[in-house]
C-alpha cells in the first residue's frame, strides 16, 4: 500500500494542523510516512498545501500523482484535481468550499455540520476531517487524543474530548459513505515508528551534542531549529537568544564559545551572507562554532518559503582570507542528526566552524524510522577546564604539531585566554612580522586541512556496480535519487552517489568514487539549482566534467514522476 494525500487550502485554514496530526497518527500506526509542504510567504489566504505519502514500506520522496485530495476550498479542487489518480477520491465539505460536486470521485463530508451538531467551534471541523481520513483508511482513533494533545498543548481535557467527538463522527461518516475500497490499509499489527522532520533533526542533533547556546535571528526556513531548541531550553538549560541581527547572532555565538560552551547559530542564505565577516573571525580566533544554513531560493529575498540548493559554492568559499571550515549537506533527517553531532565534534576537536547546509524541502519533510542508530553519536568535551594550571603555563595559540592548540576556559584557572582578530603570536597578541604570520597560517590552516580531510566520510553509493546511468548529487536530493534507482533498477543498470560530507572534499583514498563516476556509462549531476554548482565543485576537486545534468530552479523540490521522466529522457540519449 502506498497512498499519497494532499491537503490544500488557504493559509490559516489549519492544513498545517491536519497534515501534522495525520502524519503523526500514521507513524504511530506503524505506517511509513514522507510528507512535504508547499506554502506561500503570507499568513492568511493564498494557497498552500501539505502532502503526505503513507505506505507499508519506507518512502523517501513525494509523488505528483495523488490518491486523496482533501480540499478546504474550491481553489484547491481546481488546482490539484488533474493530479488525482484513477481510483482517487476528493474529500471536501460543500458547506465550506461553497460548491457541490456530484461526480463519483467526490466525497462530500459535512464536517462543519458535525461541529454544529456537537455544538463545538468550527475550528474543530479539521478534527472531523482527520477522523474521516483515518476512518476511510481503516485506521482506528485509539491514538487520536494523545496525538492532538501534542498540537493543541495545554488546552485542557474538554477541548480534546470535543475534538475526539467530531473526529469519531467524521470517522464513521467516511466508512459509511462510499470511501474507495482501494484506499485502505490492512489491520495488521505494526510497531509505532519515529516521525521527524529536517528542522527537528538538526535541533535534536544539537541537543544531544551538548549545545548550550543558540543565538539567531528568525529567518524562514531556518526558524524551526531555533523553535525546537527554545522548546527544550528550560529542561536542558540552554540559552536561546534572539539577536538583533545576524551579525550579532554569530558574534554572540563566538562569544559564548569563547566563554566555554558549545554554541550554534542558524539562518538562511541572506542571514548567512551577513555572517560572512563573523565566519572569518571564527577562522582567525579558532573558536568552535556550528552553523546551520537552511537554503531558500535567492538571490536576495527570492522565494522565502520555497526550496533551492543555490548557496553551495558561496558557503564553501565564504569569508575573506583563508581558514579551514567543514560543510555537511545531509539528505535525510537521519543524516541530519548524525552530521549535526559530527559537526559539533569536529568544530570543537579542530577549533573550526562546521556548517550544516539544509534547505526548505529537507527542513519541512517528515520521515519515519523504526529507530535511529545512537552509537555513532559522540560527546567529547575537548576544552581544557582544569583549574590548577598557572598563568605562565598557557598560550592560547601554542604552535603544536597538528595545529590545534589547547582551548582553555576564561575564569576557570589563573590562565589568560587571549584571542585576536588581528594576526597574533602564540599568546594571542597582535603581531606584524612575516615570520610569525607564516607560522600561524601553517598552524591554523595548512596543518589542520589534511587532518580535517581525513575525518570526512566518502559519499554513499547505492545500486548497480557497473551502472549504465549514475545519478550524482548531494543534500536534499537524496530521496528522489534513491527511489529513482529503486524504481528503475529492474529495467537498467542504475546507481546513485550521494555526498553528505562535502567540505573538505572527501579523499578518494579509501573509496575511489572518482573512478566510479568516470567508469559509469553516463554520470548525471542532479542539483536543485540553475548553474550546476555541484558539478563545478566536482570538476574543481577531481577534474571530472559532467556531460549530463538534471537541474530544477523553480523553487520546488523534485517529485518522483517528473524526475523519472527526466531520467528516461537521458536514457534515450545514451
Amino acid at each position: 500500500m502506498d497512498i499519497t494525500i494532499r491537503i490544500g487550502g488557504e493559509a490559516g485554514q489549519g492544513l498545517q494542523f491536519i497534515g501534522s496530526v495525520l502524519a503523526r497518527a500514521f507513524a504511530r500506526h506503524g505506517l511509513h510516512v514522507f510528507s512535504h509542504q508547499d506554502y506561500m510567504s503570507r499568513v492568511r489566504g493564498g494557497h498552500n498545501f501539505y502532502q503526505i505519502r503513507v505506505a507499508n514500506q519506507p518512502v523517501r520522496v513525494s509523488k505528483n500523482r495523488i490518491d486523496i485530495l482533501l480540499a478546504l476550498d474550491e481553489n484547491t479542487i481546481n488546482l490539484h484535481r488533474m493530479d488525482l489518480s484513477d481510483d482517487g477520491v476528493i474529500i471536501y465539505d460543500a458547506a465550506m468550499t461553497g460548491r457541490e460536486h456530484d461526480e463519483p470521485v467526490f466525497l462530500n463530508i459535512p464536517v462543519l455540520a458535525m461541529t454544529e451538531k456537537a455544538g463545538v467551534t468550527k475550528l474543530m471541523a479539521n478534527s472531523a476531517a482527520i477522523g474521516a481520513v483515518l476512518g476511510g483508511l481503516d485506521l482506528n482513533l485509539d491514538l487520536f487524543p494523545e496525538t492532538i494533545r501534542e498540537f493543541l498543548g495545554n488546552k485542557g481535557q474538554g477541548v480534546i474530548a470535543s475534538n475526539l467527538a467530531v473526529a469519531k463522527d467524521g470517522w464513521q461518516y467516511a466508512r459509511r459513505n462510499g470511501w474507495p475500497a482501494a484506499l485502505k490499509f490492512s489491520a495488521a499489527e505494526r510497531k509505532g515508528l519515529m516521525l521527524i522532520n529536517g528542522s527537528q533533526a538538526i535541533g535534536f542533533g544539537a541537543l544531544v551534542s551538548g549545545c548550550k547556546f543558540l543565538s539567531a535571528y528568525p529567518m524562514t526556513p531556518s526558524t524551526g531549529i531555533m523553535i525546537y531548541l527554545a522548546s527544550k531550553a528550560e529542561e536542558y538549560k540552554i540559552v536561546v537568544e534572539q539577536a538583533e541581527d545576524e551579525i550579532a547572532a554569530i558574534n554572540m555565538a563566538l562569544g559564548a564559545s569563547f566563554g566555554g560552551v558549545r554554541a550554534m547559530t542558524t539562518t538562511s542564505g541572506g542571514g548567512f551572507a551577513l555572517m560572512a565577516e563573523g565566519l572569518s573571525l571564527g577562522g582567525m580566533t579558532e573558536l568552535p562554532l556550528v552553523i546551520a544554513e537552511v537554503q531558500r531560493p535567492g538571490p536576495a529575498t527570492g522565494l522565502p518559503t520555497r526550496t533551492e540548493q543555490g548557496d553551495l559554492l558561496f558557503v564553501i568559499h565564504c569569508g575573506h582570507g583563508e581558514f579551514p571550515k567543514v560543510l555537511f549537506t545531509p539528505g535525510t533527517p537521519e543524516q541530519a542528526i548524525a552530521l549535526t553531532n559530527k559537526a559539533f565534534e569536529l568544530a570543537e576537536k579542530y577549533q573550526v566552524q562546521a556548517i550544516i547546509q539544509s534547505d526548505q524541502f529537507l527542513a519541512d519533510t517528515e520521515w519515519t524510522y523504526e529507530e535511529i542508530d545512537e552509537s555513532s553519536l559522540l560527546y567529547r568535551d575537548h576544552r581544557d577546564r582544569s583549574a590548577t594550571v598557572r598563568e605562565q603555563e598557557y598560550k592560547r595559540f601554542a604552535l603544536t604539531g597538528d595545529g590545534v592548540s589547547p582551548l582553555a576556559v576564561p575564569g576557570f584557572s589563573p590562565r589568560l585566554v587571549v584571542v585576536d582578530s588581528d594576526e597574533h603570536d602564540e599568546e594571542g597578541h597582535i603581531i606584524e612580522d612575516g615570520a610569525t604570520r607564516n607560522k600561524m597560517v601553517e598552524k591554523r590552516l595548512l596543518r589542520k586541512l589534511p587532518l580535517l580531510r581525513k575525518e570526512i566520510a566518502p559519499p554513499e553509493y547505492y545500486g548497480h556496480e557497473n551502472p549504465k546511468l549514475l545519478l550524482v548529487g548531494y543534500g536534499s536530493t537524496y530521496g528522489v535519487m534513491r527511489e529513482a534507482v529503486a524504481e528503475l533498477a529492474a529495467g537498467i543498470a542504475i546507481a546513485m552517489l550521494h555526498f553528505s560530507e562535502i567540505w573538505p572534499f572527501p579523499d578518494p583514498e579509501n573509496f575511489d568514487f572518482i573512478d566510479v563516476v568516470a567508469r559509469a556509462g553516463l554520470a548525471v549531476c542532479v542539483e536543485n539549482n540553475a548553474t550546476g554548482q555541484f558539478a563545478r565543485l566536482i570538476r574543481g576537486e577531481t577534474g571530472f566534467l559532467f556531460e549530463a545534468s538534471i537541474r530544477k530552479y523553480d523553487g520546488r523540490p523534485f517529485l518522483l514522476e517528473p524526475f523519472l521522466g527526466e531520467v528516461h529522457g537521458l536514457l534515450r540519449q545514451i
Binding site: E234, G255, A256, L281, V418, D420, S421, H429
Partner: protein, 286 residues
C-alpha cells in the same frame, strides 16, 4: 608588586600624548585597587586605537571585529559569569559600525560594562569623521565638513533607559573622577556605559586636550542620577560647557535574570549527560 607591574602588557603603539594612555592607567589602577586578578577580567574590544587596550594590560581578551564588541561581550556574559566582562570600543566602533548592537545591548541590560574611547574621529584609519565629529570637522573624506549632525551618546543612552550612563574626560585633572566612575561601573550590576572624551593629538585638531579641559566640569554633588528627565536635559548640554560624571542610573532587571536556566550555575559550569537526553528525547519522536 605595584599595579603597573601586575597589569603590565605589551608596549602601547599609541602616539605620544594620546589620551588613551590615561585611560589605560586608570583601568590598571582600578583593577588593582579592587584587588582583581587578571584572570578575573575579560576585556572585549573591536578594532581601532582604543581597541588595542587589552593587549596593553593583562586579562582574558577577545579582540574581535570592528564594531562587534557588544555581541561578543553579551555572548560571553551569558555563557560564563566567572569574570568581569568589559567592552572597550571607539566612537566609530561603537556609535558607527556597531550602532545597532549598542541599542540592543542597552535593551538587554546584560551584566557588562562599556567604555567608549570617544576622540570624535577615526584614529586608526587616519582621521576620517566619526559619528561624534563636529560639523566643522574637515578631512580628506569630508572636504566640506561632517555632513551629518554629531551623535549624542548620553542622550541616546538615557532614551534607551540604559542602566548606568556616565561621561568622563581622560584628562589629568579629571582622572580621579574617571577612576571613580570606572569603579562604580564595575560595581554596578547591569549594562554600564561610560563615554570617555579622549584627545587624539594627531587627527583631531578641533577637540584637543585643552578644548576638553576648558569645557568639562563635574556634575553637581546633588545631581540625582535617578531623575531620567533631568539627566536627559543635562545630556543635551554640549558646547561652551560640557558636564561630566554619572548622569543616569536605574535598577532594571538584568538580562541574565530573565533566563530561568541561569539561576544556579553559569552555562560554562554545567555538566552534560548525553545518555539522559537521548533516552528521553528520542522517545518523544515516537
Amino acid at each position: 608588586m605595584g599595579f603597573l607591574d601586575r597589569f603590565k602588557g605589551q608596549e602601547p603603539a599609541w602616539c605620544p600624548g594620546c589620551g588613551n594612555f590615561a585611560i589605560l592607567n586608570v583601568l590598571k589602577r582600578v583593577f588593582s585597587e579592587m584587588a582583581l586578578e587578571p584572570s578575573a577580567l575579560t576585556i572585549v574590544s573591536g578594532i581601532g586605537q582604543g581597541a588595542k587596550l587589552p593587549h596593553y594590560t593583562k586579562c582574558n581578551t577577545f579582540n574581535g571585529l570592528h564594531g562587534r564588541t557588544l555581541p561578543v561581550a553579551t555572548g560571553i556574559a551569558l555563557a560564563n559569569n566567572k569574570t568581569h566582562v568589559i567592552a572597550i570600543a571607539g566612537d566609530g566602533d561603537c556609535y558607527g559600525e556597531g550602532g545597532n548592537h549598542l541599542l540592543h545591548a542597552m535593551r538587554r541590560n546584560a551584566n557588562l560594562k562599556l567604555f567608549v574611547h570617544n576622540n570624535q574621529v577615526y584614529g586608526l584609519t587616519k582621521g576620517q569623521a566619526s559619528p561624534t565629529s563636529v560639523p566643522e570637522f574637515k578631512s580628506k573624506t569630508q572636504p566640506f565638513g561632517n555632513p551629518s549632525a554629531p551623535l549624542n551618546p548620553l542622550a541616546l543612552a538615557i532614551a534607551m533607559d540604559c542602566s548606568f550612563v556616565a561621561r568622563a574626560f581622560a584628562g589629568a585633572h579629571n582622572l580621579p573622577q574617571l577612576q571613580d566612575l570606572v569603579k562604580q561601573a564595575l560595581q554596578h550590576r547591569g549594562f554600564a556605559m561610560i563615554d570617555i572624551l579622549q584627545n587624539c593629538v594627531t587627527f583631531n585638531k578641533i577637540n584637543t586636550f585643552h578644548w576638553y579641559k576648558e569645557r568639562t566640569y563635574q556634575l553637581e554633588e546633588n545631581h540625582d542620577p535617578g531623575d531620567r528627565l533631568n539627566a536627559f536635559s543635562r545630556a543635551l548640554e554640549w558646547g561652551e560647557k560640557i558636564p561630566v560624571g554619572l548622569f543616569y542610573r536605574n535598577a532594571r532587571t538584568v538580562m541574565e535574570d530573565n533566563y530561568p536556566m541561569l539561576k544556579e550555575q553559569c552555562l560554562a559550569e554545567m555538566e552534560f549527560d548525553q545518555q539522559k537526553v537521548l533516552r528521553k528525547e528520542m522517545a518523544s519522536f515516537f
